[in-house]
């Protein structure tokens, strides 16, 4: 709630930069485990995923609705991003 409200009451910046981190099979696909994405202000996680599919090597093979964490918390795909967020693309988890 705090994230959304602050993004809406402040003037939205023209662009934001988010740190995208990749793990396991996604890192293997992309050939990297970290990249910076520049997105329009008020971009959502879904926008970041569109960017990743278009930009990252192997990005087209991301599932329709991958698991995503923002700043180390599982989030819904309609979450609005803000400048400086750490966005993690999480392959299916296999702990335990």
């Amino acid at each position: 709630m705090l994230r959304h409200t602050s993004a809406m009451t402040a003037a939205a910046p023209a662009t934001i930069a988010v740190r995208v981190i990749l793990f396991a099979s996604y890192a293997d696909l992309a050939g990297t485990d970290e990249v910076t994405a520049t997105l329009p202000g008020m971009a959502r996680v879904t926008d970041l995923l569109d960017w990743a599919r278009a930009t990252l090597p192997g990005g087209a093979r991301l599932p329709d609705r991958p698991l995503v964490a923002v700043n180390r918390t599982h989030v819904r795909l309609d979450t609005v991003l803000i400048d400086g967020d750490e966005v993690a693309l999480l392959p299916p988890m296999a702990g335990g």
């Binding site: 959304h4 793990f23 396991a24 918390t73 309609d78 392959p91 988890m93 296999a94 702990g95 335990g96």
Partner: protein, 152 residues
């Protein structure tokens, strides 16, 4: 102590930490590296984690377990290279009665699988390897790590 460790997990130490003269039971679950998976011979494996998030998710689910049931919970997950027979995860839950020990322990194990960002790469006897995708196994349930997440 951290929830993730690249050293061998000492199950007895986890159990000792939940033991208390006030508690009548302890249920422990230990997950081990098996020598087979889906009919393929496994020789070793690697666990990788999004370490900072895995730590905070483990802390959150231990806190939640201790709020749901009157129990003491300890949890560790191994990361890095593991051999057959190594302990991959250990959960120890102490409570007054066996009901909450069993329920709490089972719940923690399920939560780790569904919420904690850890991945497993298996190495097979034929020289190949693969990242394990539990959602593709015949017995898979769809994970729902967002069960308790606020909207963004």
């Amino acid at each position: 102590m951290t929830f993730l460790t690249s050293d061998s997990i000492e199950v007895e130490q986890l159990v000792a930490r939940v033991t208390n003269p006030d508690r009548g039971g302890i249920t422990t679950f230990v997950g081990l590296v098996r020598n087979h998976q889906d009919g393929r011979a496994v020789t070793r494996l690697e666990y990788h984690a999004y370490a900072a998030m895995a730590e905070s998710e483990c802390a959150a689910l231990v806190t939640e377990a201790q709020r749901r049931w009157p129990v003491n919970v300890e949890l560790q997950h191994r990361i890095g290279c593991l051999a057959i027979g190594d302990v991959a995860i250990a959960v120890a839950v102490a409570g007054d009665h066996r009901d909450e020990c069993f329920e709490g322990c089972r719940w923690v194990v399920e939560q780790v699988k569904h919420r904690v960002p850890i991945w497993k790469r298996e190495y097979y006897a034929d020289g190949s390897d693969a990242w394990v995708d539990p959602t593709r196994l015949a017995t898979a349930l769809t994970p729902d790590p967002l069960g308790s997440v606020r909207h963004g």
